[in-house]
Structure formats: C-alpha cells, structure tokens
Amino acid sequence: MPPLLRRFLLLCASIFAIVTFNFFLFHVIPGDPIRLIARSQHLTPEAVAHLRQVYGLDGSLLTQYVDYLRNLLHGDLGYSYSLQEDVSSIVGRALLNTLLLLTCSTIIVVTAGVGIGVFAGSRVGKKSDSTTVVTSLVLWSLPTFWVGMLLLFTFGVWIGGLPISGITTPNAIYPNVFVVISDVARHLILPTLTLAMVDIAFFIIITRTSLVEVSGEDYMLTARGKGLPRRTLVWKHGFRNALLPVVTASVLYISALVAGAIQVEVVFSWPGMGLLTYNAVLARDYPVLEACFLVISVAVLVANFGADLVYRRLDPRVTVTS
C-alpha cells in the first residue's frame, strides 16, 4: 500500500473513532440525558417520550448510533436549545472566525519564533542566548487566559485605545468593505497578540534546541572548517537541517494552539469555537458542546494530516510514518 494512502486511511479511521467516541460520550451520560437536557426532574412520561424523539434518544443504542451517523453525513449536528438554531450553521460561522484568529497568530508565531530561535541558537553561551531562553521559558509558563486578562486590563481600562471585545464594533454602519476589514483587523490585534505571546515561546525553544543539536554534527564542523561566512553556516547548513524536528514538533503543537485559541476567545469574546464551547458549557447546551468537540477534533486531525504531507515534501527520506 502506498504510504500516502495508508496515512489517509489512518486519518479516516481516526475520524471514525472520534465520531464514535463522541457519540458514546454524550449518549451514555451518567443519569438520564433527557433529565439533563430538560433540566427538570418533574416531567410527564409523555414529555419524556417526546424529548427522546426530538433529540434522537429513543430506540436502542445501536439505532441511535446509526441515526447519529446518518445525520452527521447529512451535515446535521442537531439543534441548539440555548440559541434556538441549527448547530451546524452556528458552528460554521464560529469555525471561520477561529480560523481567522489562528491563521493570523500562527503566521506571526512561526516566522518570528523560528527567527528568534535561530538567533539564540547560533549564539549559544552568549548573553543574548541565555536572555532569550529565560524569556521564552517565562512566556511558555504563562496561562494564556491570564495574558489575555492583562492585555484586556491594559488596553481596555488603563491605556485604552484598542477594541477589547467581539469581532466588529456593535451597531457600526460600514460605508464600504474596506472599513469592515479595518474594523475586524483592529479587533484582531489583542487576541492575536495574546496567542502569539505565549505560543512564540514554543517555537523559539524548539528551533533553538534543534539548531544547537545540529551544530554539534560533523558536517557543521566541516562547514566551519571551510571558513564559510557565518550567515551561510547558520542558515544554509544549520537551519535547513534543524527545520525537520521543528516541523515534527509543530504537528504535536496543533492541539495546544487550539487550546490557546479557546482561552483567548473567552477573554476577548471572539465569536469562534472557543467562545461557543464556553457558552455551551455555561448553558449546559449539550448538542452544541458535542458538535464543538467533534468539529475541533476533526479539524485538528485534518490539520495533522496536512502537516504530515508538508513533512513528506520537506524530507524525502520519510516514506512510512513511524
């Protein structure tokens, strides 16, 4: 079997496992899910039967599972009772907003993080290196949501000047599309900054470590012995070889990125998957919570698959994933 096909089948199997896991998680809730959904202990038997039918909880577990799969294939994620809307359309909007936030922060984090990591890694033993390492470890230890709270305080209460909540100005009237873009961009600044501040540390540390390890290799000694200019040495010989572990580590980092986004969205009321999850938890809106978990997990699995494809491109030696 070609490795690519194998990897794809693995992705499908994982998604199927997630779907099944998700089903059991929310359908085998301790106690009666209907009581949880209705949030009342005093229901007539007729009302219980009706709710069971509405939420697809009648029949055996197997029929429920088959129904669940069929609905999923039709893009039907159920109905939110706190928002009174189809879950799939709610999730669709939220997912786009989260992707916007993650794209902006990831671009900053990867370019700046890798750059700073190379800077530090090529100056091992110097003051600039140890300062970078300590700063990164501090940033790495920060709870993302607390950084958000600090920025919220700084720019919302103390200095002011930047929007601190939502994705657009409420009730704004936009003369043209450019004003919309600039408004969204202004709202993006603080959430992106928060995410970037914490996440950048990971890339700095990984890149630095990888470069330091590579620097000890024989071919680096050879390159140094040839008297190559420092820039060529670091970027062409060191960095290119140090990049692979960075990509590998980044793949594992995708879920941490998502965790950061959830916290940032809660703090800045950014209407994405994180805020949706948070509100679903507060309202105990299980259909929404279930869909959020499912969609985030599948998105992460697909992102992993994508990163794996990139990795294959970068390193032709990889034929089978270990």
């Binding site: 994982s14 496992a17 997630i18 998680l25 929310f26 809730i29 301790p30 091992v124 033993g125 110097k126 003051k127 290196d129 140890s130 390492v133 300590v134 470890l137 501090v138 790495w140 230890s141 920060l142 709870p143 993302t144 949501f145 607390w146 709270m149 600090l150 919220l152 305080f153 919302g156 209460v157 103390w158 470590t209 330091v212 390890e213 000890g216 594992l252 995708i254 879920s255 998502v258 965790a259 959830i262 916290q263 809660v266 703090v267 999850t277 948070y278 938890v281 507060l282 105990r284 299980y286 919570l289 279930e290 959020c292 978990f293 985030i296 997990s297 992460v300 699995l301 992993n304």
Partner: protein, 300 residues
C-alpha cells in the same frame, strides 16, 4: 536468583548519574537551581501559609464597604467581590493547584509508563495496539475533551484530577516505549532471560528502574502542564466550586468584572502564582533534560 544483573561496560552504555549526583548537577545548573528554589518556597507557602494567615479564604465580608478593597495593612492583597481576603485565597489556591497538578501527574505517569513499558517490552501486536491508542490520544485536542468530560461528569476535585490525568499521558508513553525498546535489546536483559528470569522479573528489576530514572525530566514537565490545565479548566468555570484554586480565583475575577473596575490586586496574584509554579517546574524539567542530554548544554 541471588545475584543482581546490572548493566556493565559492555552494555552499549547506560549513562547513569551517580547517586546524589543528579541533585548536585541540578543545583549547579543556574536555571535548575532557580526552579528548585521557587518550588521549595511555594511548597512551604502552600503547606504552612493557610495555617498562619489569620483570614479564612471563604469568609465573606461583613458590609458593602469590605467589597473589592485595595490592599491594606489588614488585607495585604485587598478583598474580592464578596469581601473575601485575596491573600488567604492565594494561599489556599496554591494548595489546590499544586495538589491537582501532582495527583494528575501521578495518574498520567502510571498510565504512560505502563503503556510504554508493555508496548516496548512485548512489541508486536501489543505494541501496535497500545501505540494506536496512544497516537489517537496524542492528536486529539486535549482541552476540548477535558471541557466536554468535566461538563458531563460534573465538577469536583476528583473528576478534575481524573480528567487531566487521563488525558496527559500519551507523550510519557511514547518516551517510555522508546527507552524500553532500547533497554530490552541490551545484553544484560538477554543474559537475564537466558538465566531463566520471567518477563515480570525482567521488567521489574532490569527495565523499570532505568526507565524511572529517564522519565524524571518528562514527569516534572507534565506537572507544569497539569497545573496549567487545571487553571484553564477552572477559569472556564469547570473547577470544583467548593475549592478555591488559582484558576477559579481568576474565573471569579473575570466574571465579576474585576478587570473593568481596575481591581488589579484581585487578578494579578493568582496569575503570578500560576506563572511562578509552572516556571519552577519548567526550569527544573529543562535542567534535568540538559543533565541527561549533554548536547543541549549551552550557556544557559
């Protein structure tokens, strides 16, 4: 069997720090020493602080005048939106945050080490099966799953510890597996087997001790992750409502609008607490890594 089989020179070198040497190496590492000092101070504060500090962390203020008061000589860190003493909450929160972090790490280490040793030692089908589960949990995003589980199974300390512990082990399993794989191919394991040692005995006497030593750095870093996970869950409102942790402190600060009211004394301490403890564990963990992997030794 009356003699112990230990790795010898011929056994492709198991680098072992001499007894007591690891701690000394840690102390001579600047960052490691800083981390160790942080952890000692915080642990002492968490254990003895609540006994000494006169205020009860959950004692509500007596009048409206005691609400959200800035720091004073009586209340060193002011009061919260219910007039409770913030410093008392900070000390109580240190206990819960450390406790949850360490307990969740214990669970995670037991599962991770178990999976890793079994997979690495028996290889073949068992390995494939256990690693398929591990990889599955490695890629699914942990925080959304923790949120879902905590929301479904309710909020108390035991659930929070379980949820975090049960989702933090995959990386440990991976590391332990690769160590076990390399250990089991060593000569002294083959010798033990040829002398008739059972699998259980080989795992217990020849594999487990060395794996244990090698996963120390990883375990310490897991504690940092677990403390952050607890803080995040509590911030989202999924902590134990009857226990004050640093995360739940920040949750109440956020929800009660302390930020808008400029009550910095309410939301700064808990966050700084989390930062300090996580940094302490991270520094010690990375120092251990440097000790075990000398190639990483640079200026830092």
């Amino acid at each position: 069997m009356s003699f112990d089989l230990v790795p010898t020179e011929g056994d492709a070198v198991l680098r072992e720090a001499p007894r007591g040497g690891t701690l000394r190496a840690l102390w001579s590492d600047r960052l490691g020493r800083a981390g160790l000092l942080i952890l000692i101070v915080v642990t002492i504060a968490a254990i003895f602080g609540p006994m000494i500090w006169p205020f009860d962390p959950s004692a509500v203020g007596e009048s409206a005048a005691s609400i959200l008061q800035p720091p004073s000589s009586a209340h060193w860190l002011g009061t919260d939106e219910l007039g409770r003493d913030v410093f008392a909450q900070f000390l109580a929160g240190a206990r819960i945050s450390l406790f949850v972090g360490v307990m969740a790490t214990l669970i995670s280490t037991v599962i991770g080490a178990g999976f890793g040793v079994l997979a690495g030692y028996f290889m073949g089908g068992i390995d494939a099966f256990l690693m398929a589960i591990t990889d599955f949990f490695l890629v699914i995003p942990a925080l959304p799953l923790m949120i879902a589980l905590a929301a479904i199974f309710g909020q108390n300390l035991a659930i929070v510890i379980l949820v975090i512990g049960l989702l933090s082990w995959p990386r440990t399993a991976r590391i332990v597996r690769s160590q076990t794989l390399s250990l089991r191919s060593r000569q002294y394991v083959a010798r033990a087997r040829s002398l008739g040692a059972t699998n259980t005995r080989i795992i217990r006497t020849n594999i487990a001790p060395h794996v244990g030593q090698l996963i120390v750095a990883n375990t310490i870093l897991v504690v940092a992750g677990c403390i952050l996970a607890e803080a995040t869950l509590a911030f989202i409102g999924l902590g134990d409502p009857n226990r004050i942790s640093w995360g739940s402190s920040l949750h109440f600060a956020f929800v009660s609008g302390a930020i808008g009211r400029g009550a910095w004394w309410y939301f700064l301490p808990a966050g700084l607490g989390i930062l300090t403890v996580v940094l302490g564990f991270t520094l010690v963990g990375h120092a251990f890594e440097r000790i075990e992997n000398p190639r990483l030794r640079g200026g830092a």
